[in-house]
Amino acid sequence: MLARNSTYIAGVTPAALLLALFFVGPALWALYSSLTNLALVGIDAANPRFVGLDNYTRLFADPDFWTVIRNSVVFVVGSAVIGQFGLGLGLALLIDHAEHRRWWLGTLAYGAVLLAWVNPTLIAGFLWVAMYDFFFGSLNHVVLSSFGLSPVDWIGSFPMPAVIVANIWRGTAFTMIIFLGALKTIPPDIYEAARIDGANAWRRFWDHTLPSLRPIAALALLSITMSTFGTFIVIQTLTNGGPGNATEVIALFAFHTAFKSFSIGYGSAIAVVMLALNFAFAIAYLRWSRARA
């Protein structure tokens, strides 16, 4: 049995080792340190103690935690599910359509969306800072002022929409590319048959395109949900979680707790909760894709 699978095992081992080293290891370390009061400064840095589930009791009683969870849900739904997923699918359909008809505009759109994606996240964040900034930003000083309108405090007045828009802009290319790839795998004869049966464009999309895309859609949704859930560089650059707690999402909350208050134990507890939620997403999406595919 082992001999028969030895090639397979030999192939999988390096990947498994790397995963263990860079994922399982840190995850276990986070789990362990979430049960301690480890800190980066003060007496708890010199003598961390085992505190059991104290960090978790404290976390669930912390009103900020629930604000942060709510913010994360709004951010993930707005930016990943509606924004990147919806927009990515829409763009992929349009570009695919354009490619079939050899319209050059499709390639241009493809390039433009891709450009946003190839920027390092930090640069993308700063680009939006340069747009939104009240004092120096181009939205106020070029766009609004050319219409004679007075400046708007974009980030202060609409913090969550502001970061959602920036993150959609940054990340849509990923789902678009995935869907474009998937669209090319759908055999064209299905559509021809449907056309002969008299199905209109909407029915062809609903009955054929969408079901063919479902497995890949689940994968794309899972992947962007998880990465959006864990994202914080765009938000950190734009609002740093403010004003107040208005855009503090869970990843940023963990970061601030661990590296601003230097409470590593408490920060790890937040990270563990985040990991658990990601697991839950993964299971839900995988079940959804298997149930229907």
Binding site: A39, L40, V41, G42, I43, A45, A46, N47, R58, D62, P63, D64, V129, D133, F134, F135, F136, D153, I155, G156, P159, T237, L238, T239, N240, G241, G242, P243, G244, N245, A246, H256, F259, K260, S261, F262, S263
Partner: protein, 452 residues
């Protein structure tokens, strides 16, 4: 300041004994030992000096000191690790190195606020025996020595002290119908002046009152703490307990409510990255009228436009609620520390001693204006010739200081949350004070928090 001494003993000695795997190995000396007469103390080996700097003022002084140490003690090497990042970014990086024991520098340069939390963590070395044998230590006033002392030990050597001012633009206030030699007698006069600017000079931001996490330490030192003091309260008692909810804290938060509620301070402070950059620039060019900020900021304006700054930027102490004596908030400024894990502490001290000579301390504080930590540096003619530096040094007589609490980072987070909540209108002053008290208890333990 010795409140926490009843808690566990420092583990400094233990930490110092830990062998650091990745510390730079001592290099064999280039010349035979004892070849140079100046090597009487037998200093050899290598040290790494790590410091953050964005301004560009410090590198030449650090390099000079490194050169001086090397030429005086042949066979020694002083490696300089300049990090061109802000203190905010430098600190977590440094802490991670100190915690993990990898790439630990021998000497580092950071704010004196951190003495308590660094000492309790066992990261830094007490300097008592070094300062005891250093004749120049007598040049440091008792108050400054006291500031560098925690649990009975001296931990860091300051050179330029922090003071803060309420800066105001004479030109903006005049446009708003106020006198050029404006002088608030009580705290509300500041709000009145800001309101006058808002109604009469629409192109000028009236006032910047730091709040929230984005404002970093500014929310603490440049706003919340002086406000609590101005209302006659205290943020921490003399026996080291932090005040959670008190009349003065509610009044300080109500002051935020008033200032932000009337739109006198821009909400962008809550969201901009490093809002102080924009606020300092604005006061410098006259598009902001009132700002309570660090004394060191003045130098940036003066170096850009000496005459304009002298003419238009006024600086005052912080007024109080009912016109009592005005005050400021002082600080140790940035200091030099020796890490507990350093394997060459004598050479590390040699560097610190060399840097902190009378002339360097005077010169760097002229270039980057701060009151000098050494009394004899204040007598250097170039220092004495600058009115602003004389005023700054004098302001320390009216300064109050925060103790070097080991929980300062956590407390700062609670202050940022409380001020951010009120400034953003999420919470009333009274509710924010209650929540501040709860946050403090959660962060540092209920036994260290009192309500008044």
């Amino acid at each position: 300041m010795s409140t926490y001494s009843r808690r566990k003993f420092l583990k400094v000695a233990a930490a110092a004994g830990i062998v650091v795997a990745c510390a730079p190995a001592a290099q064999p000396s280039a010349s035979p030992p004892g070849a140079s007469p100046s090597q009487a103390k037998g200093l050899t080996g290598t040290i790494t000096v790590s410091y953050p700097d964005e301004l560009g003022v410090k590198p030449k002084y650090v390099d000079q000191a490194a050169q001086a140490v090397q030429s005086k003690n042949s066979g020694t090497t002083v490696k300089v690790d300049l990090q061109k990042i802000s203190d905010d970014l430098y600190y977590p990086k440094l802490l991670l190195a100190l915690q993990s024991g990898a790439d630990v520098p021998d000497v580092f340069h950071f704010g004196g606020d951190s003495i308590g939390e660094l000492a309790d963590a066992g990261y830094i070395e007490p300097l008592d025996s070094y300062v005891g044998a250093w004749p120049d230590w007598s040049q440091y006033p008792a108050s400054i020595k006291q500031g560098a002392t925690y649990k009975g030990h001296v931990w860091a050597i300051p050179y330029g002290m922090d003071t803060r001012w309420l800066y105001f633009r004479r030109d903006d206030l005049q446009k708003a119908g106020l006198p050029a030699d404006w002088m608030p007698t009580k705290l509300d006069d500041v709000v009145t002046a800001a309101a006058a600017v808002k109604s009469k000079v629409s192109s000028v931001v009236p006032y910047a009152l730091y709040a929230g996490a984005a404002a970093s330490d500014g929310a603490r030192d440049h706003a919340f703490v002086p406000l609590v003091w101005a209302y006659g309260g205290d943020v921490v008692t003399s026996d080291g307990k932090w005040v959670g909810n008190s009349p003065a804290i509610r009044k300080a938060l109500a002051y935020y409510q008033k200032v932000y509620g009337q739109g006198l301070s821009p909400k962008e402070i809550l969201t901009t990255t490093k809002p102080w950059t924009a606020m300092r620039a604005k006061l410098g060019d006259g598009s902001l009228a009132l700002l309570f900020e660090g004394g060191w900021v003045y130098g940036g304006w003066a170096s850009k436009d000496q005459a304009g700054t002298q003419k238009n930027v006024g600086y005052l102490l912080h007024p109080t609620e009912n016109g009592g004596p005005s005050f400021t908030i002082g600080g140790l400024g940035t200091c030099w520390y020796i890490t507990a894990k350093s394997k060459n502490k004598d050479l590390a001290w040699e560097f610190i001693k060399t840097w902190n000579n009378k002339d360097t301390v005077a010169k760097i504080n002229i270039e980057d204006p701060h009151p000098v930590a050494r009394s004899d540096s204040a007598d250097v003619p170039e220092f004495k010739a600058q009115q602003y530096l004389v005023d700054s040094t004098k302001s320390l007589e009216k300064a109050k200081f925060l103790p070097p609490d080991p929980n300062l980072s956590k407390i700062t987070t609670a202050i940022q949350k409380a001020t951010g909540r009120v400034a953003n209108g999420d919470s009333t002053a009274d509710d924010a004070a209650k929540q501040y008290s709860a946050d403090l208890k959660q962060a540092i333990g209920a036994d260290k928090v009192i309500e008044q």
